[in-house]
């Protein structure tokens, strides 16, 4: 019997240790991010700095040359304008990159806000916070001159061609509703969709209007924006994404409203996005 005692003692020690480790782990998993607002009245990841996230890579015309810190490109300019309204000069803005999934995953975030053409929807609002909208766009179709898609002007006509779309977008939802399902192919990114368009696997690709102009202009040979989709809801509203129930949402929304009210947003839009060109609407 005496031989058993050390073994029990050892077992008890191990049990005790695991409990200690477990309780430590439980303690350390409480949110470690700063919970008190700094001098700007914001609760930021790094006190005194504003950490803004965008995609990797970030695309024109939203961010030029994949360098958001140069302030060029629509979303980069909007981000700096919003930061300025929040009281952060350019030097206090830190850029980081997240994937689409990384932006919406639960848990502590490594950014204060995130903008990469997130469309605001009620479903998505259950998982994250959005600021008010900084841009509204319709969806459009990019194709090449001479492609069978170039001459199509009706939604019915679109049912007969192959259309590509990038995943993670609301464009797919719209296409499925307006055009149907089996002729739509979904790609990881607009880059892959462009590749498929070039190799002849699809006839056209659908994306938001500013991106469509950019792709038709710079990526697709003899590219052309052949039409846009009429949307009863007035198009997609892009919003700045924040963590669910973030204490900063109201202030970021106020900043977006402020740059809209004083005309800065309109000036940025005019500078970076060329959407004024007439594009026929699919009937």
């Amino acid at each position: 019997m005496s031989g058993l005692r050390p073994r029990f003692a050892r077992a008890a020690t191990i049990l005790g240790l695991t409990l200690v480790v477990a309780s430590l782990a439980a303690c350390s998993s409480t949110p470690s991010a700063a919970t008190t607002p700094d001098s700007h009245g914001l609760t930021t990841v790094t006190p005194g700095k504003l950490t803004i996230a965008t995609g990797q890579p970030a695309y024109s015309p939203w961010v030029i040359d994949n360098k958001p810190q140069n302030g060029e490109g629509f979303e980069s300019a909007v981000a700096y304008a919003v930061a300025a309204k929040l009281g952060f000069p350019k030097k206090d803005v830190v850029w980081t990159r997240t994937t689409f999934d990384g932006a919406i995953a639960p848990g502590p975030k490594n950014f204060d806000f995130n903008l990469q053409q997130f469309t605001i929807t009620d479903q998505r609002k259950k998982a994250v916070d959005f600021s008010s909208s900084y841009y509204t766009t319709s969806q459009a179709l990019v194709t090449a001159k001479g492609s069978p898609a170039a001459s199509i002007t009706t939604l019915d006509g679109l049912k007969g061609i192959k259309i590509g779309v990038a995943e993670g977008t609301t464009t797919y939802t719209l296409l499925k509703k307006d055009v149907g399902g089996s002729n739509i192919q979904v790609f990881n990114s607009n880059d892959d969709a462009v590749l498929a368009l070039k190799s002849g696997q699809i006839d056209a690709l659908a994306t938001d209007l500013p991106t469509a102009f950019y792709l038709a202009d710079a990526e697709v040979k003899n590219g052309l924006v052949s039409g846009q989709f009429a949307d009863t809801t007035g198009g997609d509203d892009f919003g700045i994404l924040l963590a669910k129930d973030s204490p900063d949402t109201a202030k970021v929304t106020a900043a977006v409203d402020a740059i809209r009210a004083d005309g800065e947003l309109a000036a940025i839009t005019k500078k970076w996005l060329s959407t004024s060109v007439d594009v026929p609407v699919f009937k």
């Binding site: 695991t18 998993s29 689409f100 848990g107 998505r124 259950k126 998982a127 190799s199």
Partner: protein, 292 residues
């Protein structure tokens, strides 16, 4: 055969020696202790899971983001439809791999200097495609080959199936070759001395024994391929993973991924069990009366 201890327990208590009774008491105590320890360790594990997972501040959010039954139900049909595409691709890819991999394995085991170029090509092929990540093969085949402009437009899943066959044939060919080389040379010699040709020896003697030796490895590759079928979605096909991704983009909720994952487990599970059963049966047959 009835173990000796059971036969002994039939005897009445009076026939049993004091030593045997002592042994029985000891065994009983030991098994009682085992039950006790397993109970305690289960409880400890339960407490740990509760402390580390359930009792965390973010658990409610995680539960809501990854395990939302309403979202699971809403998107189940579209994910299931995507899974059907996975199964179709898997079906054709498996047949393609079986044929192509056997061919490569046979070429690699050909003897004689005249076959050198073939052997070299087969070896180069397996080296190249075992090293090349599947996703890159998918891009090259799915976007590169159509760009040549010589093929009619076919569905992306067809190109995906071709890429899968190219990649997995390289792995399976090596597994099959190992199996064929593990067949004792005396089998080959015996077959040839019975008058079988090289081809007959291969088909009737070497391959059946070789395949049997590597069944678990082959099934592993099959299950692995089953999951890699999902990568075909980079070419534009909407499979189960892509359907889940679309649903995720819609809702900003990760539950559809869990649904897709469980569906994959569900389709691979019967095969995994079947292999276990097959290899157990094989072991019984091969080691008959030989267990120590």
């Amino acid at each position: 055969m009835v173990p000796a201890s059971e036969g002994a327990s039939v005897k009445s208590e009076a026939d049993v020696s004091a030593i045997e009774l002592d042994r029985r008491a000891f065994r009983k105590k030991q098994s009682g202790r085992s039950v006790g320890i397993s109970l305690i360790s289960t409880v400890v594990l339960g407490v740990l899971v509760w402390l580390l997972v359930i009792n965390t501040p973010g658990w409610a959010l995680v539960q809501q983001t990854f395990f939302d039954p309403k979202i699971a139900a809403e998107f189940f049909p579209s994910i299931l439809l995507g899974l059907w595409l996975n199964i179709q691709i898997l079906f054709f890819a498996a047949i393609g791999v079986a044929i192509f991999a056997t061919l490569i394995a046979v070429i690699r085991t050909l003897r004689g200097p005249i076959f050198f170029p073939l052997r070299f090509l087969a070896a180069a092929y397996t080296d190249l495609f075992r090293g090349m990540p599947l996703i890159i093969v998918l891009y090259l085949v799915g976007f590169g080959l159509p760009a040549l402009g010589v093929f009619p437009r076919v569905a992306p899943e067809v190109w995906g199936t071709i890429a899968l066959i190219l990649t997995y044939s390289a792995y399976v060919a090596e597994v099959l070759r190992a199996g064929m080389e593990a067949v004792n040379p005396s089998q080959r010699l015996a077959a040839r001395s019975l008058g079988l040709s090289h081809a007959q020896t291969l088909r009737l003697v070497v391959l059946p024994q070789g395949v049997r030796k590597v069944t678990p490895a082959l099934v592993n590759d099959f299950v692995s391929m089953q999951k890699d079928v999902g990568l075909v979605s980079v070419l534009g096909a909407i499979d189960a993973v892509r359907a889940a991704q679309i649903a995720e983009a819609d809702t900003f909720n990760f539950t559809p991924y869990i649904v897709a994952g469980l569906l994959f487990v569900a389709i691979s599970w019967p095969l995994i069990r079947l292999t276990d059963w097959l290899s157990a049966r094989q072991q019984r047959r091969e080691q008959i009366g030989g267990t120590v």
